[in-house]
Amino acid sequence: MIFNSWDYYLLFLIPAAICFRLAGPRVRPWIVFASGSLFFAYFSYTQFGGWVGVACLGIFLWECFVSRFYRVRSWICWLGIAQTVLFLAIFKYRNFLSGLVWPNAAENPLFWKHAFLPLGISFFTFEFIHYAADRYNDRTEQGTVGEYLAFILFFPTMVAGPIKRYQDFLPKLRAVSREWVVDWQRGVTRILSGLVKKFAVADVLTAYTNHLNWADISHAERHILPLWLLAYGIKIYADFSAYSDIAIGSARLFGIRVPENFDWPYLRTNIAEFWRHWHMSLTSWLIDYIYIPLGGSRVENGRVYANILVTMLVSGIWHGAGMNFIVWGLLHGAMLVVRRAWRQFRPLGAEPASQVTLFFSWLLTFVCVNLAWAFFCMDVKTALFFFRRLIIG
């Protein structure tokens, strides 16, 4: 409970945004740093691991220190990326990975009984990696210490994105929008819209999605099962896009525009378009830092398909430490591969597609995406049981 709490708005967002706007250009990054640090400490203490969670603020400070040594083509950039991946591995994947070797937690010497996730770790680590990679490739300037701390501790996007790019953020930090009225009007409207999506759509559907467990699936009427899964598909979109609305609206109060994350993904007529409009900041990150370095689409077909699968495997793993997320990622990878192969077999013609074709393309995309959610919200065994009940009864 962060974006849907009074503390967020009254203790952090409104005071910080006002101070930021009123401050001079040299002080502004430090206001973001201070408010972001307090935000991280406060919500880490109250919701994510107590004082140990608060101590994870040290990760940001250490990252800032190391980042000062990033140079073009320097091995230190690779060190920075490696240490970030290590942070992620230790906090997020330690129990899952060691559990593959020792399934019984009691016999697992590496099992971390009190494991917790530092607030926003999956997102801020991706921003760390982006900065290190782009410094290595001379795609971004270093900026000052204050500017980099402001980038990584900008609290509206700290918890769950959108995943920012330093070279986009820096100009906006340096030359803040002077259009107070428009920014606050749009920002407040965006925040209110996000809260409506969260409370009136996502949370209401929880009553149905809570039934996606083995016991309820085994007793449910068969025709109810797809409705529960559809409810989950709508809920996750409403929930995550609501979060993004609030994050983007909050940033707008500072006069800072951050990337959009969703653009009506469920209206898209093929799986590639879906991913270009769902969690867009993650998709572009995966393309820039996984897909393209692997060779992207500039290699022979077999390797392109492998690159797609690896990229979506990383996406799945990033979403969670569990086999179900790996399956979910690979399912989407397979759908993207099939789509690419189909387009190579039957390229788009000069004439636009008919309305009937578009409708069935949309329907196929919508159904496939929503069926795949089964592996996102249930473990593999339960998801397979769900499909068995759905198909066989």
Binding site: N4, L192, D203
Partner: protein, 58 residues
Amino acid sequence: MEWITGAFDYLGGARDEAPPGFPLTLGNWAFWALWWAALTVVIYVFSGQSSKFIYIDF
């Protein structure tokens, strides 16, 4: 469809410019005040439940 999604984006604060032919502008403060009030009422009516955002645990 583009006009409809554009209108929703504009009403939701995701766009600064209204789609062509949209009757309301950002300067129409009476409308926006009512719109904000309506959104706030909906939030109040549905806010009894407490839940985390799904991606917070990611």
